[in-house]
């Protein structure tokens, strides 16, 4: 076995209008976890797509795998060479069984008219899952599994067929701490088997936890490859961003009167007996494992989902949230979990997205939308939130994740809400943009807005919130103040539902997730 498994030299990739990769170098050794990092749009995913055979590099690029030219021209080449990928969006088939998902693409390599060996497929799937300690029925249709289990299936698929290099593109972005821990175990296991891992993430902490070496990209250019020991968090950020980021300092301020009082809210199969309050000028974070029912609760508060029982009291008035229209009227704003699917109309401009929530108030007496005012509104937010590029008519689909998220926030600020609910506000957003969004949330709270932040990112939860609610299996397991909160305490509540003051053991964590 050669010392380097994967070697990339002077790799470039041009998209119309964008040089996504410009003379990039990368070298990955067997048995190492190699972090690939950079801001949004730095070119990480593009590089991965090339490794995966989905995209072709420009001429002149060198791409060696196991010391030989890789010649990967289509995805199956990569798979056959032993490169497998866990995509950020999982990339599974909801309509197929778990076994098929794990073995997907294996039939394809043999060509269209070969027989599918069901028994073999089930056996491989079962063995892989068992080997990982996952308890999942291989015959069940994938869409019937919870998102957490789907994630496990995606992991199983990546290692099912003797991979030599496993690429993980933001594998933890839709995971919460419990599954993250589980993933770390899997990674350690793979490492010990000499399998190389290329790891992409925006979360500093975890990068330092799992990675051995770091390759930094900036604007498609290669910045450098560094050993873990050469770096610290601050230095890494500097390399990524190209300048020093001011760290966020929290300005404490006192909270105002109570705005929202939720009591005994229940919805069968989603959440049960939820009670909490929200005050003006405070940020309450709601955390827990994926599938603990936070998003459903937010949907209920925003009128997207009915509830079975319980009450919502807003400003002293009991309200029934039967529709989003009503929620908006009551001054509630919701920045959803998936900004691409639920947050933005990607094919439309910044202007049209920001005005969407308040179209009615932009009309004149004839019922026609005043486009001038609409544009002014967009410009105002582009400036105040520093949205880039500052082109009001650019399609939001062409913007970076962080800026997209700002547009979503802008469209809700336009409604002048009393309560802002943000669901996973910095998912997949780079560190720079993340800090900006945190700052923005703090500023809004200071100005008197009540904010509910739903997040699985514990460092985020700790950074922005005044109070923390921990959800577990559809109920609120406990509440922690900003001062008393720590990662361990949150994890205990999330996993076991108790205020234990010592860290849970890894195998307990594992069970908490899989069961």
């Amino acid at each position: 076995m050669s010392q380097t498994l994967l070697e990339i030299k002077d790799m470039s990739k041009t998209f119309p209008g964008v040089k996504a990769l410009n003379q990039v170098q990368l070298e990955v050794r067997p048995g190492e976890v190699h972090a690939l990092i950079g801001e949004n749009g730095a070119g990480k995913s593009t590089l991965i797509k090339i490794l995966a055979g989905v995209e072709q590099p420009d001429a002149g690029s060198t791409f060696l795998f196991e010391g030989k030219p890789a010649n990967i021209t289509k995805p199956i080449d990569a798979t056959l060479k032993g490169i497998s990928i866990i995509y950020q969006d999982l990339s599974l088939f909801p309509n197929l069984s778990v076994a098929e998902n794990i073995c997907a693409g294996r039939e394809a390599e043999k060509g269209g008219f070969n027989f599918v060996k069901w028994r073999e497929m089930r056996r491989i799937a079962k063995e892989t899952l068992q080997g990982l300690g996952f308890d999942i029925d291989v015959n069940v249709t994938l869409e019937k599994l919870s998102i957490a289990k789907q994630q496990l299936v995606a992991i199983a698929r990546a290692i099912a067929f003797d991979a030599k290099l496993i690429i993980m593109d933001e594998p933890t972005s839709s995971l919460s701490a419990g599954e993250v821990e589980l993933l770390y175990n899997v990674i350690a296991d793979l490492k010990s088997k000499g399998i190389a891992i290329l790891f992409v993430s925006h979360k500093m902490e975890e990068l330092f936890k799992v990675s051995d070496r770091f390759t930094v990209l900036r604007d498609g250019k290669f910045v450098g490859t560094y050993g873990k020991e050469e770096l610290n968090e601050e230095k890494l950020i500097q390399l990524m961003v190209g300048r020093k980021l001011e760290s966020m300092e929290r300005e404490e301020h006192s909270r105002g009167e109570q705005l929202l009082n939720v009591s005994g809210l229940s919805k069968k199969g989603n959440f049960k007996n939820i009670s909490f309050t929200l005050h003006k000028g405070e940020i309450v974070a709601m955390t827990g494992l994926v599938g603990s029912g936070r998003t459903e609760l937010a949907h209920a508060l925003f009128g997207l989902q009915s509830v079975d029982s319980g009450s919502i009291v807003l400003d002293g008035q009991p309200v029934q949230m039967t529709s989003t229209v009503k929620a908006v009227k009551h001054g509630i704003a919701y920045v959803p979990e998936s900004r691409q699917k639920e947050g933005l109309v990607l094919q439309q401009s910044i202007v049209r997205n920001t005005s969407l929530t308040i179209l009615k108030s932009l009309t004149n007496s004839l019922g026609s939308i005043q486009e001038k005012r609409e544009l002014e509104l967009a410009k105002e937010y582009i400036e105040s939130l520093d949205i880039r590029p500052n082109l009001p008519f650019i399609d939001t689909g062409n913007m970076s994740g962080g800026n997209q998220q700002k547009v979503v926030i802008a469209k809700w600020l336009a409604t002048n809400p009393k309560i802002l609910i943000v669901d996973e506000p910095t998912n997949g957003i780079d560190i720079g943009a993340k800090r900006e969004i945190h700052k923005l949330l703090r500023k809004l709270a200071r100005e008197g807005m009540a904010i509910l932040v739903i997040s699985s990112d514990l460092s985020e939860v700790l950074a922005v919130s005044d109070r923390i609610l921990v959800m577990r299996k559809g109920t609120i397991a406990g509440e922690l103040s900003h001062q008393e909160a720590s990662q361990e305490k949150i994890m205990n509540l999330a996993l076991l539902g108790t205020h234990i003051h010592e860290a849970a053991k890894p195998n307990e964590i594992k069970q908490g997730v899989v069961m």
Binding site: T14, T324, V325, L344, V345, Q347, L356, L359, K360, I369
Partner: protein
């Protein structure tokens, strides 16, 4: 220079028109020109209705039977001696009820539009057959015939109606909250709903709008043809889809312009009239319309690809 696909279509129309004018005797004869202006509004108006439905990634297969139903109701009202405006209102109401049915199944039950309108198409056809027993209903007052056959200062009245309707559609789609919501929901219904827009209502109005277009087309048709019958205008079913798509409307929703539909209708009309005048058999006209449809889409595809490559080279 940047040329949007609508104006590209405009050029194609112009080109066709010139070719016809040169090659087809009698084509630029004023009589033929006015005659075309009498002919195209029905299809144009139906296509506008179809376009708006397609904007929401839907399709309305029932549109022509809705028009026929509306026409039959009007015809009965007229032959029963009701005043013209009352009859028209009756027809419009009948169409709107049909539209309501479509909208209900699509927006509230969530059944995909192609299925709903497949069902309602059969249903409307059945209702018309039941009430007319398959016979045509005719014998309207002379005053009614003006709508389809009259002119104002030599300008055919139907084309005036079409112009007004097109303007109205343009205004509704581009200036009002509803129109904006149609485009936004067409691109991404979830994000639109998540922005506090009542998307069900928006979709409901879309089907009511297409029903209204069907009713207006029915008014013109019943007046022009002086009768109403179960298969009145049935050949417009697929034609109106073809015109909308030819006009640049994206079948997956969210994109489409009134001007495109107008050019699309005009191309259809010029093709069919010109070829008819040349004595080309009807089936060959159908072949050519299919060819033009695919050709225009291929042109769009290849120009987009060309631009893409140019941009790549430039980078």
């Amino acid at each position: 220079m940047k040329l949007s696909k609508e104006w590209m279509l405009g050029l194609i129309f112009l080109g066709l028109f010139i070719i016809m004018a040169v090659c087809v005797p009698g084509f630029i004869d004023p009589y033929n020109l006015t005659s075309m202006l009498y002919q195209l509004p029905e299809l144009g108006i139906l296509s506008l209705g179809m376009m708006v439905v397609i904007l929401t990634a839907g399709i309305d297969l029932s549109i022509t039977y809705l028009a026929a139903l509306s026409g039959v109701v009007m015809a009965y009202a007229l032959t029963a001696g009701l005043p013209v405006p009352v009859a028209m209102i009756a027809g419009i109401i009948a169409a709107l009820i049909g539209g309501l049915l479509n909208g209900f199944f699509v927006a509230f039950i969530g059944v995909s539009p192609i299925l709903v309108t497949l069902g309602t198409m059969t249903l409307f056809k059945g209702i018309i057959l039941l009430i007319t027993k398959g016979n045509s209903v005719s014998g309207f007052p002379d005053s009614y015939s003006f709508i389809g056959n009259g002119d104002i200062l030599g300008i055919p009245f139907p084309i005036i109606v079409f112009a007004v309707i097109a303007l109205l559609a343009w205004y509704l789609l581009n200036k009002t909250v509803w129109g904006r919501s149609v485009y936004m929901a067409g691109n991404n219904p979830i994000a639109t709903l998540f922005s506090g827009v009542n998307t069900k209502k928006v979709i409901m109005y879309v089907y009511l709008f297409s029903a209204l277009m069907a009713a207006i087309a029915a008014i013109i048709m019943t007046s022009r043809y002086n009768s109403a019958k179960v298969d009145l205008g049935s050949s417009y079913q697929l034609q109106s889809i073809a015109v909308a798509v030819l006009g640049g409307t994206s079948i997956s929703g969210g994109y489409g312009k009134v001007i495109g539909v107008i050019f699309g209708t005009a191309i259809f009309q010029v093709l069919s009239s010109g070829l008819n005048l040349l004595g080309v058999p009807g089936m060959v006209i159908n072949i050519l319309i299919g060819v033009v449809l695919i050709a225009v889409l291929l042109i769009n595809f290849f120009t987009a690809k060309y631009k893409h490559n140019q941009l790549k080279k430039a980078t």
